[in-house]
Structures are given as structure tokens and as C-alpha cells.
Amino acid sequence: MEKRAVFNNRLLPFALIAPQIVVTIVFFYWPASQAVWQSFLLQDAFGLSTSFIWLENYIELFRQPDYYNTIANTVLFSAAVSLISLSTALLLAVMADKPLRAAGVYRTLLIWPYAVAPAVAGVLWVFMLHPSLGIIARWMRAAGIEWNPLLNGNDAMIMVVLAAAWKQISYNFLFFLAGLQAIPKSIIEAAAIDGARAVRRFWTIVFPLLSPTTFFLLVVNIVYAFFDTFGIIDAMTGGGPAKATETLVFKVYADGRLGGDLGGSAAQSVILMVIVIGLTAIQFRYVERKVNY
């Protein structure tokens, strides 16, 4: 893993790597450690004195029913977004994997939503699902379905889930398609000759062989749902109504806006850091195993 041939300059490498290290330390490690440090502190109302209170902030967090509500929201949100987005993308990828003539066109037509900002995706879906002026909302009313995401927490959650899942379909589609195309055709043919028809082939052969890709995408989708969806929630519901769509990331932002509880806000940040480090670690350790053919 090492290059055999290198240059011998003494100072040049430091100069080369300095910009990145400097930015990294100033804007990554310093703030991160600040957050960790502050999470152990309690500031009084005027910011005049601080005291070291160890894990009190964390314990306090876990005493608030609000926090559990937020955790529940985040888990539900991630699960729903991942499930909807992954299954839709898988279906589309399986359909696109056949030797169709317009395969390249289909791919182009399905991957461009990746370029849409989450916040913009949120605005697009709000426009469709807004209770008074959204087209889909109107259709639902005409069909007799009650729909008001401004007042109904469940409706609001459905709305943000749809927007978040919609945006992620193209990314998942791309990777599923690549995964499907990596399965040797002869294995599929062998399965067909072995008496397995299309549906059975999919569940007994294709899906198991796709599992590294599926697992990888699952982790990526969960990270996406936890962190990248801030824009969606801010643009669509602002965490409401009544915190029905407040996720962990949003809560950090919202609580910090109000000011006041610096320690609690820092504690929330640290918890999020631990979660993301855990997810990334899982991704690196377990997802790198590839199936040999």
C-alpha cells in the first residue's frame, strides 16, 4: 500500500498538505471539540459563569419527553424514507436491467433528481400537497380523503417522507442498476434451467447476490435521512405541526436558534456525532465485503 518511488523534499509536503489540515483543524476539529467540551458545561442565564457538570446535560436531555419524541420521529422518518426509496429504486432498476433498446434514455431520465437540492424538493412537494392550493391535495379532497399537513402531524410526516424518498430514488436506482449488471448472466441462466421462473429467480438468486449493494444503500439512506434532509423539513414544515416532524438534526438547529441552553444544544450535537460515526464505521467495516463470482 506504499509507493516505492517518492520524492525526497523535506518542506514541500508540509506546504502541500497545509491548506487542508489548517481548514480541517479550524473548521472541523476545533468546533467539534468545542461541542464536546460545552456539552459538559452549564451556563447560567446571563452567560457569566460556567460550571462543569459532567453528563448532566445528557441526562437532562433524556429526561425530556420532547427528546424521545424527536428520536421516534427520526427513526420513523429514516425507516419510511429508506423503505420507500429503496423499493421503488429496486423495482425500477430491475426493469431497466433487461436488454431494452432505450436503456440509456431511461437512465438519463431517472437520475437527474439527484441534482435537485433537498430544500427545493421540499418546496416542490409542498406545492403539490399544500392543503389549499396543492393539486394532489385537491384530488384527495375530491376523493373524500382528509388531508391537512398544516394541522395533522401524521399528514405532515407523510409529506416530508414522500419528498425525501422522491429525491433519493435516483441515487439508489444508479447503484442498484450497477449491482444488477455485475451479476454474471450465466448464473441467471443456470437458475432458469434449474427450474426457477423470473420471480423465483429474483428472490432466490438476484436479491441475495445484490445484498452488499442493498446493505450499502441502506446505510447511505439512513445517513441521508438523518442529516441531509434538514432542508426538506425546514422548507416544508419547520418541524411542525407541534414538532411532529422534528428530527434530531432539526432539533439541534431549532433549539440553538432560541439560544439559552448552550450545553444542551452541544450535547445533542455530540449525540449526533456519535450516531454518524457509528453509521460510517459500520459502512466501512461491513460493506466492503464483496461477493466473489
Binding site: 509507493k3 518511488a5 520524492f7 525526497n8 523534499n9 509536503p13 508540509f14 498538505i17 489540515i21 481548514v23 480541517t24 483543524i25 473548521f27 476545533w30 468546533p31 467539534a32 468545542q34 461541542a35 460545552q38 421503488t88 423495482l91 425500477l92 426493469m95 431497466a96 433487461k98 431494452l100 431511461y106 438519463t108 437520475i111 439527484y114 441534482a115 437540492a117 430544500a119 427545493v120 418546496v123 416542490l124 406545492f127 403539490m128 399544500h130 392550493l133 396543492g134 430514488i169 441515487y171 444508479l174 447503484f175 441462466e189 432458469a192 447511505v220 442529516f227 432542508g231 425546514d234 438534526v249 439541534v252 438547529y253 440553538g256 452541544a266 449526533l272 456525532m273 454518524v276 460515526i277
Partner: protein, 282 residues
């Protein structure tokens, strides 16, 4: 393969077109919305077909701005987004390729430490450290500046890793031949490594440009002045809470304009885009 006739090729095409429709529908509706009168929209009477007001709406959006609050015309916002996206994309590539070069082709004390320092930042997206990072930026007087928008996001572990991985596959014979020819590190980099890295740089550029253009949380915090907003933030600010005042048709115009550059980049550089996605996830 011989398949049952009933399935044939119809179902895959059908499902794919339904998928494409689902994917395109929200954007289509946004386009429709950008061509109608505000009252038609607010009354919930907007039809599915486009209306006659396209040119006026877009003109107002780009040059005049919304009237509900003193918002900037979209032209300024597009410039801000563009600057942010370009600086972030180019900056990330520049910094990362130098770092990868240093790590791979030189030996210096703390080399591996530096590598891990960079690598670990993969695990810390800006969303988990927003307020402390904001405070640092504020202390450095970076609020409401292009520097503040871009520099905190510019150190990229992903790009560094990608370049490092790529450099490891470059045969040792190239650098040895280079040295025999009397080239030092600068010449080797400029004449050999850089040309070889072009495709990777282009692929990364696509991904990073989109990343920079679509940033939301960070610009939200660091810019307060209207004329420094990016277009994504601008859209958000246009949606005033009491929606009777929101001028939806202008919002939709802005949305269309906000999507145009990144989508155009993805579609025209599709191969590079796909390559960039796949390479950065290895």
C-alpha cells in the same frame, strides 16, 4: 431467453415510464405553476396545463424580485449560488489533490497522522457541528462573505481519498522515468499526474458542484443579508408563513431556475457524474 408471451417487453417499459412520470411530475407541476397568475394558484384552481404568463413571471423573478418583502431579484442569488458552487468544487479539488499528492508521493513525519486527521472528517458532516462551527466563522469575521460560505466546507475527505486511491494505481515506473528525465516534484505533478487525473477531476467536479449549489443549512446560518443569499435559501425565504402573501408563481419560477444549472450539469456530463458517484463511494 424464451419467456412467457404475456410478459414480453411491455411490462418493463410500462413500469419504467410510470417511474419516470413519478420522478418528473413534481417538476412538471412547478413549471406549470411558474406560468400562471398568483390568484389562480392561491385559490386552488391551477390546472395541470401551463398558463400564459411565462415570460412575465420569469422576467419579474430574475430582474425585479418579489414584492412581499424586499427580496433580492433572483439574478443576484444565482450569482451567489454559482460563486459558492464553483469555489467549493474547484477549491475542494485543488486542496485535496495537493494533500493526496503529499501523502502518496512523499515521506514526512506525521504523514499517516495527517492522513487519519483528514480521513476522520468523513464522519463529521456540517450538520453535526453547526453552532460551534458558526461561532468560529463569526469570530473570524466571515459572516455574510463568500469566504464564510465556502471555506468551512472546503476540506474534503472524500476527494482526498479518491485522489489517493487513484494515485496508488499509477505505476511507479512513471515517476522513476520522470526523475531520470530530471523532473522534480513540481514538474512530475504538472506534466504527468495532472493530465492522468483529468477524468477523476471532472467527475468529482460534477458531484462537488451539485453539493455546493444545493447547500442549505450552512448558508442559512452564515448569511443574513439578502444580497448574499444563495438561490436555495432565497426560495425558502420566499415562502412566508402566512401563505396568502406568498407569490407562488414567482417561487416556482425561482425553483425552476434553481434546478436548471445542477440538472444541466448532471445530464450533459452524465457519464462523468455516474463515475464520480461510484468512485467516491468505494
Amino acid at each position: 431467453m424464451v419467456e412467457r408471451k404475456s410478459i414480453g417487453n411491455v411490462i418493463p417499459h410500462l413500469i419504467l415510464w410510470i417511474g419516470i412520470a413519478i420522478v418528473a411530475f413534481p417538476v412538471y407541476l412547478a413549471f406549470v405553476g411558474s406560468t400562471h397568475e398568483p390568484s389562480v394558484i392561491s385559490n386552488g384552481q391551477m390546472p395541470i396545463t401551463p398558463g400564459p404568463y411565462m415570460l412575465e413571471n420569469y422576467y419579474r423573478t430574475v430582474f425585479v424580485g418579489t414584492s412581499s418583502t424586499t427580496r433580492e431579484p433572483v439574478g443576484t442569488m444565482i450569482v451567489n449560488s454559482f460563486v459558492m458552487a464553483m469555489v467549493i468544487a474547484c477549491g475542494k479539488i485543488f486542496i485535496s489533490i495537493l494533500s493526496a499528492y503529499a501523502i502518496v508521493y512523499f515521506r514526512f513525519p506525521l504523514r499517516m497522522t495527517a492522513f487519519w486527521v483528514i480521513f476522520i472528517t468523513l464522519m463529521l458532516p456540517v450538520e453535526v457541528r453547526i453552532y460551534p462551527t458558526y461561532k468560529v466563522a463569526a469570530d473570524l469575521s466571515l459572516l455574510d462573505t463568500y469566504a464564510g460560505l465556502t471555506i468551512p466546507l472546503i476540506a474534503s475527505a472524500t476527494a482526498t481519498l479518491l485522489f489517493r486511491q487513484f494515485f496508488m494505481t499509477v505505476p511507479d515506473e512513471l515517476i522513476e522515468a520522470s526523475r531520470i528525465d530530471g523532473a522534480g516534484p513540481y514538474r512530475f505533478f504538472k506534466d504527468t499526474l495532472l493530465p492522468l487525473s483529468r477524468t477523476n477531476m471532472a467527475a468529482l467536479f460534477v458531484i462537488l458542484f451539485i453539493y455546493g449549489w444545493n447547500q442549505y443549512l450552512w448558508p442559512l446560518l452564515i448569511t443574513t443579508r439578502d444580497d448574499m443569499q444563495t438561490i436555495v435559501i432565497g426560495i425558502r425565504k420566499m415562502i412566508v408563513t402566512s401563505d396568502a402573501l406568498t407569490e407562488w408563481q414567482l417561487v416556482m419560477c425561482t425553483v425552476m431556475l434553481a434546478m436548471l444549472p445542477p440538472v444541466a450539469v448532471v445530464i450533459t456530463m452524465q457519464k462523468l457524474f455516474v463515475r464520480g458517484l461510484v468512485e467516491t463511494e468505494k
